[in-house]
Each structure stands twice: as structure tokens, then as C-alpha cells.
Symmetry: C2
């Protein structure tokens, strides 16, 4: 049974994701689609709108067969680490192919760029560190280093976020020396960072979240851009939890945490570099919202995303000493199964005996440093709920088995 992998956040699952999923099936002829999905916190250092369980249901009902969680240690990182963790999970699950969305849309451009860069890694690194010294942010510096080196953007425009991710997926496959095919589908209509709706049915997740939070929560604002199943699950989550998650909800905890920490303690936090913690401490007393705080601390060099990730690691108390050793090999050490269709389960049965990593169904069943971080992240994610809801959700987190879905009857098992 051929399996293809997609690497996703589904925050929330929208029509663009549906398009990508349908095209992936057509293009790859795979029988089983495996989604590597970020957990409760996302690559840009944000909380997911709704929990990973609800996003798993959206994915299964849309046609995904297996959902596995990308560990926090990889999910909340720059593209390279994010890609390495994701590809290592797909490798561990014997995926034959990965299919990603990109602005470019031609897989050869990615491959050529990866091999071009490999040959000239040293020069590239020099350009990169030079640009960083000049005060450019890491993403901007990478893009500058690349175009200085190639003299052209012929291969791939590395200033586009999905091209960057795709580049790192292809590079990770190359580095991890597994025989996985890569393919790409051109993204239609919506730019990753688009904040407004420019198309009738396709919109970026960013614009969907923006519309959701722009005034009183009203799901009719976004119903054109999401499948009915997403609408149903968003609505059900909101009814049960009385909120969608966003940074502002966590600001009171972040401020408390910062105000009770010394600079020396903050320096221990992952991504606290070059004394940036002092800048945070200098502005936190006055800030009344997360947005206000970010506006005050961001600079040309410290981008919003980078600072948001730092704030997230402060919030979850993720230290350098806890995280760095886990990233040494740039591969995951377990497979956390969040959900599967009947077909997904059949696929898992066929590969079971060959899978080298433990497959985690319940978090109580397995002790692992990488998993510890996921648990801490979830505990943080749930910390904003009033009691007794918080305790109930914490308990559920330990006892919830993977979600099982019958894709034919459209029923949960």
C-alpha cells in the first residue's frame, strides 16, 4: 500500500488544504495519506486556534488517513529543524513520497537548489553570517546569501515561506539518506501571509484567523473558505471551551512568568540569545496586551516570529539544556499517533513489524524526554481554562487514545 506524507498545521483546515490534499492523491496515486501535524503550538510560536484533537478530526473527515504529531521540539522551530523532524517521522512510517505545497510548484527547482547549495555550503555560510552581522533577520539573511551566491533567483525564490519549507524538506530527505520521493503542488490564489480575502473560496489560514478574531467571534465570516466539517468542529470547540486560542489569552501568564524571573533565569530559555531577555524585561511592566508587547520589543534583527517563539519557550519554560540535546540528531525518537481512518489502520498493520520507533497511543504509556516537552506544552496550552475544565482537559490528555474514524460510514469508532 503506497503512503504519501503531507506536513501540516491545519490551523484550521481550510479549502486550500482540501485542494492540496485532493491534488496530492491524484498526483501521487497513494492509497494512504499520512499527515505530520504540529501539536498545540505552531511553527511561528503561536498557540493553535483549537486543540490538536479537534484539528485531527478535521483532518480525518477531510480525507487524511493517519495523523501523527510533530513533537514540540521540532514544531516550534525555524524551517530547517521543522523539516528535519517532519521528514524523520515520515521516514519512520515508511512513506514513499512527500508532497508539499509551494509558491514555485516545480520539484526540479528544489532539487537543483539543494544540490547547488550543497556544493557551495561554505561560501553560503560566509554570506549568511555576514548578512546576520549586518543586522538582517535569519530568513532575510538566508535569502540574501542565496541570491548573492547564485547571482540569480532562477532556481527558487527563497524569500517565499513555502519555498523555504520545501527546500528544507528536500534537503532533509537528501541528508537523511532515505529513498523518499518528493513532489510539490503549486499553491493557488492565497499567499501564506495574506491577511485579507482575495479569492472566493480559498484563503490563507492567517486571513481566516484574522477574520475570526476581528470582532465578536462569528463563524459565518469564514464559512466560504472552510469545509463544512471544519465549521462544525470549530463551532463545537467554541461551544465547549468558550474560546479560540490566541496569544492574548496567554499574556497574563507570560507577564507573570517574566516578572518573576531574573535575567539569569531567562537566559537559560531556548532562543534567548545576545541579552534579548533584558529587552523583554525592560518592556513587560508597561505592556497591557501581547500585541503591544511585541510591537515594543521587535526590531529589524529580531523578527516577530523569532520573538514569538522565544516568548513561547518562556511560557512553556523550555530551556536550552532540555531542548538542545534532543535536537542533536535532528530526528524524532517516537511516533505519537493522534488519529487514523480504517485505511490508515490497515496501513499501520502492514508496516508494524518494520517500524523502528515506538508508536505512542497514550502518553502515560511511555517515558521520553522529547515527549515530556509535548506534555508540558499541552499543560501550558490548557492553563488558560477555568477550573474544573482545566483539570478535566488535563486528565483527558493522558487518557485519550488515538481517534479512530471510518471514512466510509463517516462515523467515529
Amino acid at each position: 500500500m503506497k503512503a504519501v506524507g503531507v506536513i501540516v498545521e491545519y490551523n484550521p483546515f481550510h479549502n486550500g488544504h482540501q485542494y492540496h490534499l485532493n491534488e496530492t492523491k491524484l498526483k501521487t496515486n497513494a492509497e494512504c495519506v499520512i499527515a505530520v501535524m504540529s501539536g498545540n503550538f505552531l511553527q511561528r510560536g503561536e498557540p493553535a486556534l483549537v486543540s490538536k484533537w479537534t484539528r485531527t478530526k478535521m483532518a480525518l473527515e477531510a480525507g487524511i488517513d493517519i495523523v501523527v504529531e510533530l513533537p514540540y521540539a521540532f514544531a516550534t522551530q525555524k524551517a530547517e529543524t521543522f523539516a528535519n523532524g517532519s521528514i524523520s517521522l515520515l521516514n519512520a512510517l515508511y512513506c514513499e513520497e512527500v508532497c508539499f505545497g509551494s509558491e514555485n510548484g516545480t520539484i526540479d527547482d528544489f532539487k537543483n537548489t539543494v544540490s547547488f547549495m550543497e556544493k557551495r555550503q561554505e561560501e553560503y555560510d560566509q554570506y549568511l553570517s555576514q548578512a546576520i552581522k549586518q543586522g538582517y533577520s535569519y530568513p532575510k539573511a538566508s535569502s540574501l546569501a542565496y541570491s548573492s551566491l547564485s547571482g540569480t533567483d532562477t532556481y527558487l525564490d527563497l524569500s517565499k515561506p513555502n519555498n523555504i519549507l520545501g527546500f528544507h524538506y528536500v534537503k532533509a530527505i537528501h541528508n537523511q539518506k532515505r529513498d523518499m520521493k518528493a513532489s510539490t503542488i503549486k499553491r493557488t490564489s492565497a499567499d501564506y501571509h495574506d491577511e485579507s480575502f482575495t479569492h472566493e473560496t480559498i484563503a490563507s489560514a492567517t486571513s481566516i484567523r484574522k477574520a475570526l478574531f476581528s470582532k465578536e467571534i462569528d463563524l459565518t465570516n469564514i464559512e466560504n473558505y472552510i469545509p463544512k466539517t471544519t465549521l462544525k468542529w470549530l463551532s463545537s470547540y467554541y461551544n465547549e471551551h468558550q474560546m479560540f486560542h490566541q496569544w492574548e489569552e496567554y499574556f497574563t501568564l507570560l507577564k507573570y512568568k517574566l516578572l518573576t524571573s531574573t535575567p539569569a533565569e531567562l537566559e537559560q530559555i531556548y532562543e534567548a540569545e545576545e541579552g534579548i531577555e533584558n529587552r523583554l524585561l525592560a518592556h513587560i511592566t508597561e505592556a497591557t496586551t501581547f500585541h503591544e508587547f511585541m510591537e515594543q520589543i521587535k526590531t529589524k534583527r529580531y523578527t516577530w516570529t523569532r520573538l514569538q517563539r522565544l516568548c513561547l519557550h518562556i511560557l512553556t519554560n523550555t530551556t536550552k539544556s532540555a531542548l538542545k540535546p534532543l535536537l542533536e540528531k535532528q530526528t524524532t525518537t517516537y511516533i505519537r499517533l493522534l488519529g487514523m481512518s480504517k485505511k490508515g489502520q490497515r496501513y499501520l498493520n502492514t508496516i508494524k513489524k518494520d517500524v523502528q520507533l515506538p508508536i505512542i497511543s497514550k502518553v502515560t504509556a511511555y517515558e521520553n524526554d522529547l515527549l515530556e516537552l509535548d506534555i508540558k506544552a499541552t499543560q501550558t496550552y490548557l492553563s488558560i481554562f477555568p477550573e474544573p475544565l482545566r483539570s478535566t482537559l488535563l486528565r483527558q490528555e493522558y487518557s485519550t487514545p488515538p481517534i479512530r474514524f471510518d471514512e466510509v460510514s463517516k462515523m467515529y469508532l
Copy 2:
């Protein structure tokens, strides 16, 4: 001008405190009364009902002339440390006498007990450590050690909380070798720990707080037991802040803090001994209230008060390495002035040139490790307010000068 010191929490100022203050003036013939008052967190590891500023106003209107803050490092400790810090402050302010309330009421009993104990310190320590090994709590073990040693309770019943404090005040004066007189006034009617009202106008602060929190906040429940000025300030605080402080309000932060800390990190916290942090972590997930949590973790050995103090140090992130060096000398290093009457100001003018410690009027004006802890404690105390109130109060904390009160016109200056 003769000054007498009283050591107080005023949580809140009630008729029993008024009685003690009036009797102190009569008995000592002092012209100026200096109150050493705990800040926002109290000896039993609890948040004060209302801020130190509001409690300072209650004190000034009741007839106190100078209010100085007992630093967090001393205020949230067992009786011995609490007493050492308090007496060192009164010493620094050239108080001629300290007058404390006690169950016993005869100062010679305190003096005799202190000198008896001094002679037999070694034996006492042996009895004490034996009793602790047997699983008794520290206060219970002290009391047992003492009665084993003396064969009698003739001198002083050291199972009574105010006798214990008084004993340590007298001992601290003795150890700090300053020529300060001690006197005591017998407490009337209400026992320190009384939870119900047994007298018409005198009730313990414990019972007053209990009445206040027992149902919907209703100040008429307690108006018989407090001066009109206390009623006025409680009411004004409630109107402005929409709450009185109690542990339950901080439980969401405590739970967040515990759930994002490793056992190794918690072990760094002051008063985390003998692996007690594991007990806390084992019960925090399920607990939905602070009270529930405390009921689950307390044992014969770990008393409610001791655990409550530990929880407080966890909440304020007060580590052993930050606090222990500050306690080496068991004396304060600054005088934080919270308020004064005109008479209080005159007194300060007369001693000003002789005072050896810096007198702090605004916290921005002075850097000091001991003061750092007070600032962190206040930042924690204010962390439960919604924005923008929290930011406003934080800003005020830095800019508020000592409160000045004209005791003749009853006006603030």
C-alpha cells in the same frame, strides 16, 4: 522623643489591634509608635487581604506614627527569622522598646525562658531534632523539646503562637545585643487561630477573613469587629479592585508554574526539602482549588503553614540561592518607609543623622537584593488583576512615595 515598636500584619486592622495599640501607648509612655508591618505576603505564606498601602492607611488612621515594611525575606518565615528581621528594623530606627501581644502576658516569663533555653541550647537542639525525626512538625517539635527539657510549662506555654513570636522577639533583642526594652500585653478574648466570633467586638483576623470570604463579600458581617476606618478602606479597596486577595485567586498561576517546572527546578525553591516537590507534582494536575490541593499534600510532618509558605515561594519563584545569602546575618539592610504621621516625621528627623541603613522612599531609587525580592513579591501579588489595572498598579508601586498623614486634622498630605 521615645519610640515604641509593634510588629504587625494588620490583615486587616481590627478592634483587637486597636486595643493593643492603645494599651501600648498607655503602658510605655512612648510618644511615637513604629509598626513593622509585613508587605503583601504574610507569615503563614498567604497573600494579604488588601495591599500594604491600604493597610498602611488603616494603621496611620488608627494611631500608628510610622509604618515600615518587613522585607519578604523575613515576613514569610518561621517565627525565629520573622522576629530577627523585625527586631533588626526596630533597632535600626532606635526604638527604645518593643511591645507585643501574647497569650501569656508577663514579660519576665519570656526573659526567663530565653535565658533558660540559652543555657541548655545543645540539649534542646537534641530533643528538637529527635522530635522532628519522629515525624513531628517544627512548631510541635519545638514545644515538645521545650517541655521535655524544663519538665514543666511554668515559664511559658510555647504551643501558643503569640508566645512563640514573643519568645523570639526577646531572644532576638538578646542576640542582637541592643539595649531595647521588651514588654507584653495579654491578648484578650480571641485566640489567634479562632475561626468563629466569640466576643462582641474583638475577633481574630483569621475569623474576620473567614467571615469575609464565607459567602458573597459583605462587609456588614465584620463591622462589629473592626474600626470604621478599616471598614472604609476595605470597602474602597474592594470597589477599586473588585476583590480581596486570597490564595484561591493565585491558584491558576501556581498550577501553571508547577506544571511547567521540572522536579529539579522546584528543588531550587526555598523550603523545598526532602523531595516534597514530587508530592506537589503528584497532586497538582487533579486539584481544582488551592484548598483541595493543600488538603491533598499536607501530612503530620508538613503542616499547612509550611506547605503554604513553600507554595508562596514557588509562586514568587524565590530560590534558595537568592534567599539564603540574604538571611546569613538575620538583619535587614534597608528601611522601606510606607507611611508616617506628622509626629512620625518629626521622630525620623531627630534620628535621621544617626540611622545607619538607607531609608527607602521609592523603590526606583535603590538597588538591593533584599528589595528585589519585595519587588518580585509585589509583581506576583498584582499578577491576578486584569489589564490595564495590573500595569497601572505596577507603575504605581514604583512611583508611590510614603503615605503622609496629619493625625490632628485626619487628612492625608
